[in-house]
Chain length 193, copies 2
């Protein structure tokens, strides 16, 4: 009779998620073209090009239909000009694949957009679970002064199209500082699909 075996050991720790199959990092130099204020970006790039803006620890058991990719996304606090730190954003290559993000710490937004330009936004605070519906572009935004840490989970066959936002000159709305708070501002460079 066989003995019990241990299941995969994924543990969320401050330094990362143990048991992960991979980690990737995005540095300031990887985020060229994302932000409205090109001068502010260039100024930061001069001294912080290699600064990691966000990193993702993931568990990718397979790419099969019916399986799940899970992980932890850690997005640092800060701004480029008035605009808050954010991820590159994407739509799933299989557009109808959805996703959830469970906010573990920090304050931010799940900023989403339909293909015909309707912005949908969920404010992230610990305990909030953001649901990304089918056929929604999505990115994380950090509105606070500390890391925004989220657990994400999505279908393993979803894939990502990372070019969709840039093809429209950015998302319809940008998250910018408003006094000590924040607001969504129309993106003057937006080109409807």
């Amino acid at each position: 009779m066989s003995e019990p075996l241990p299941g995969p050991a994924l543990v969320i720790k401050p330094e990362g998620m143990t048991g992960r199959t991979g980690r990737y990092e995005k540095r300031l130099s990887d985020l060229d073209g994302l932000f409205a204020d090109a001068e502010a970006f260039a100024a930061r790039l001069a001294t912080e090009a290699d600064r990691v803006i966000y990193h993702v620890d993931e568990f990718r058991p397979s790419g099969a239909a019916g399986d799940l990719i899970t992980g932890i996304s850690t997005l640092s606090a800060g701004r480029v000009g008035a605009e808050f730190h954010m991820t590159r954003g994407h739509i799933h290559a299989q557009h109808d694949r959805t996703e959830i993000y469970h906010c573990l710490s920090g304050h931010g937004l799940m900023l989403m957009e339909t293909l015909d330009g309707q912005t949908v936004v969920t404010e992230l605070r610990p305990g909030v679970v953001a649901y990304v519906p089918p056929v929604h572009i999505h990115r994380s935004v950090n509105l606070g002064d500390e890391d925004l840490v989220t657990l994400f989970c999505y279908p393993a066959d979803a894939g990502q199209d990372y070019g969709i936002i840039a093809r429209s000159g950015g998302m319809r709305h940008r998250a910018v500082a408003d006094g000590t708070g924040w607001r969504l501002e129309e993106n003057s460079g937006y080109v409807p699909r």
Copy 2:
């Protein structure tokens, strides 16, 4: 130009998950036949038949391939004889659909089993993310003195076969008290598939 809309507002609170599409409860009387010690079960049933042993708040946006069902499972602490409180358990109707459970509080197990009777077990503590691989029967067990609270997420087209465990006389192993701790004990009533 249309204004931003709010996304679905799922928030995990002590009293439950707001924004849920449904909640179900399992009372002691619903769990007849699960536990090894029939006498101990009958004794508890005499005074606690209606006691809720666990409840699940879920967000079920659809049943479509590529979508996700998410929610919070709250399993109370306690034992039937030596055996710890547990959920009914199931295998997904689409066997290869996987699942994740992120432990938010408490101490327990994700107790799993392959179709040919290999037990696989992941100990749950806050910060642990248990992954249920394809074609694994799975149930939660509460080893502690307080509620075991987990966030779960699985493919919306997975479905559940709740009869599979009973058809084999229970899972291969049972989680029982061992002094102040716990151990997995072979199930003497187990019938291989």
